[in-house]
Amino acid sequence: LNVLDFEIELQRIFLQEATLLIENVEECFLDLENNPTNPEVITKIFRLAHNLKGSAAGVGLSEVGQFTHHLESLLLIIKEGKITPDNSIVGLLLKSTDHISKMITQLKLDLSATFNSTDLIQEIEAAIKADQNAPSKITKNQGSPDPTDVQTVPKEIPGFHLFEEQTPNLSITQEKNLHDNTASVRQNNSVANVQQDNKLNDPKKSANAATSTKDDEGIRVSLARVQKLIDFVGEIVILQSALRDFAADTKDQGLKRVVDQVGKVTKDVQDISMSLRMVPAKPIFQKLQRIVRDTSQALKKDINFITSGSETEMDKNLLERIGDPLVHLIRNACDHGIESQEDRIARGKSPTGEVVLNAYRQSGKLVFEIRDDGGGLDPEKLIRIAKSKGVISQDAQLNDKDAMHLIFAPGFSTAAKVTDISGRGVGMDVVRTNLEEMQGTISIESKIGVGTTFKILLPLTLAIIDGMVVSVMNEKFVIPLSQVHETVRLSSASIQSTQGFGDILLLRSENAQLYDLGNLLHRREHGNFNKNAIAIIFRTLEQPYAVVVDDILGRHQVVTKQLGEEVRTLRGLSGCTILGDGKPSLILELDDLVREATKDLAPQNFGNRDLKADDSTHQQKLAS
């Protein structure tokens, strides 16, 4: 390693560390705004800035060093109490942080990048001078913030306890769902969400967090390595279950015991390795905090952003992908949801609007709730706009629920004019598509004049699912357990065969269209199933439907794997997994298969449809 390489390496390390420092600093600034007199917070910020300045200069990144130096001067007079960090000062601090993180991002790409910091430095200098001219300001703003001041007043800052040692805790939502297998995977290292965030209001705790920074003993590992580990653990799990099958026939008690123990250890190793991908939702919460602050100031609205559940853990992949949808929803809540102050006062509401973000786990799902106490959605207005924009036809009849979902239609926007914040009509349909890609759903509840709540349901992870393993004609398939509503043995069920509509399974109070999985997969003619077969009932489409399988072989947590890119577009499959025998097994998306089959049900194709899988594509092409 020559000296130059060594220097570059040092700079790279610095840039990585700087990114973390910046995140911490930003968090502290927002805290400072609510808590302008807390010396612990100011000291921490000062220390972080000082570290940043020192290390930047140390590795030869002088521009970052110089800029931070100016910032440090400003922080120094805040620390000495010569200036109170009011709204505008915090704004300046945040702007400076943005500038530093911009520099760092650019330097990561190109170590020789240069920057123009003159304007911002002048602003900082001006703030320092302005204060020296008006030293009386110190006492004026102390105590509780002026309620008429137009500013964001977040009641709590999520995740200020980043480095705080936590005793492992079960969260309430999980305890309620003991039958839920996926949740149990991560029970040990999850924390009680609600109490967690309340602690933040306690200044002593915050101070504690600020001083315990040094206790953090985490190491950073690349995601690729974690993924490799998970893949190999997956292999061990498969081998272990093969071992268990072999040992089932043995009379050797010693061997049996060892195999059992290996099984338990394997399960633990799998749980831990899967949990490595799980990260708290906190970074998103921080980002949103900032967005609400900036948005509300730009809109001249007074908005109180209340969050809980920032410690809720989720798969790293999901975390990256949930960001954009949440930003859109929160911005919309601030812009379209919360009314102007005059309107709020006229309606007899508090002039301060409220936007609430909750994250929690429920029934093996991750839930995000975005609530505002704004004007609510007016279904009639939505329908009117949709008609005028040609989103729906002029004579369309929609119920209130469908009308509300119009906001997710492409090209739909209710804002009278396009603002910087939103109103271009691209946001909400992006929200919906992003969520669908993550196998998530979104629902709306809204009342005119009272407010709107969006509820997002997501799987905890895309990497493992609870699967029901079924067999059809000696092939094994996996059906995500979350989609299964119930199962019925055909021998004890009543089936009505109808002309033109196929078979109907009579449930207690309703009817379900009956499909045969072998037939859905084009493996056999409909109706050729064993009368002892089992029907699985799904309620994932508008109408309940039932799918017949030859047998249910069990219920397993399965590690999902993607099919090769060349066959990923196949309908009805959401992926693949490897079962205990080492063979791949397909994970079915029954809704897709049934939707497709309903299309095919037109009588003219039904008779001559080729049931062999290999010719189906060709047949369809000939028919068309």
Binding site: D231, F232, G234, E235, E475, L521, H522, R523, K561, Q562, L563, G564, E565, E566, V567, T569, L570, R571, G572, L573, C576, I578, G582, K583, P584, S585, L586, A613, D614, D615, S616, T617, H618, K621
Partner: protein
């Protein structure tokens, strides 16, 4: 005069080799295998491994040459029956069947062949453009042939076989 001509030929053949292996690749060896009574080859560089035929899981709604998926050390790999893909009807030589795992770009696919033959290190003059009269069914996947003495080996274009856009397009088989 004749010297000059053969020189151009060799240069032309160098170009053909580049077509087959790309600009940089020093390794120009071929892995040859049989399908029916014919011989084929792939650039060895594209080959990840050769394994014996294992039980595969069929994929629904795929053309007949897609046999299904297999698990190779935790990775799910699609297997295609190369003989069927190339419209070779003779399936009586399958007792030594093997699976060649090969890749092109991001795609990794397993090709089932009747038997593995050998590794060939071709000289530039052994590689030729495919004659125009070649049966058109497989013309899409074949651009070059290897010819030495009386041996003719058809060189498979891996990029064409392992193309995401046309992978499941069985019409290629039916066309022409």
């Amino acid at each position: 005069m004749s010297d000059l001509k053969s020189d151009t030929d060799v240069n032309g053949n160098h170009l053909l080799l580049k077509k087959l292996f790309g600009e940089q690749h020093a390794d120009q060896r071929l892995l040859s295998f049989s399908l029916g009574t014919e011989k084929f080859a792939l650039p060895l560089l594209a080959v990840r491994e050769v394994i014996s035929v294992i039980d595969f899981t069929p994929l629904p709604f795929t053309p007949n040459y897609i046999l299904g998926v297999i698990n190779i050390r935790g990775q799910i790999i699609t297997v295609i029956d190369l003989g069927t893909r190339l419209s070779i009807i003779d399936k009586s030589h399958r007792s030594e069947a093997a699976v060649i795992v090969c890749e092109s770009g991001n795609i990794r696919v397993a090709l089932m062949v009747d038997s593995i033959d050998q590794v060939i290190n071709p000289e530039p003059q052994d590689i030729q453009e495919k004659p125009e009269v070649e049966s058109s069914i497989r013309s899409r996947f074949v651009k070059l042939i290897y010819r030495k003495d009386n041996t003719i080996i058809t060189l498979i274009d891996t990029a064409k076989i392992l193309n995401v856009d046309t992978f499941m397009d069985s019409e290629i088989n039916q066309a022409a």
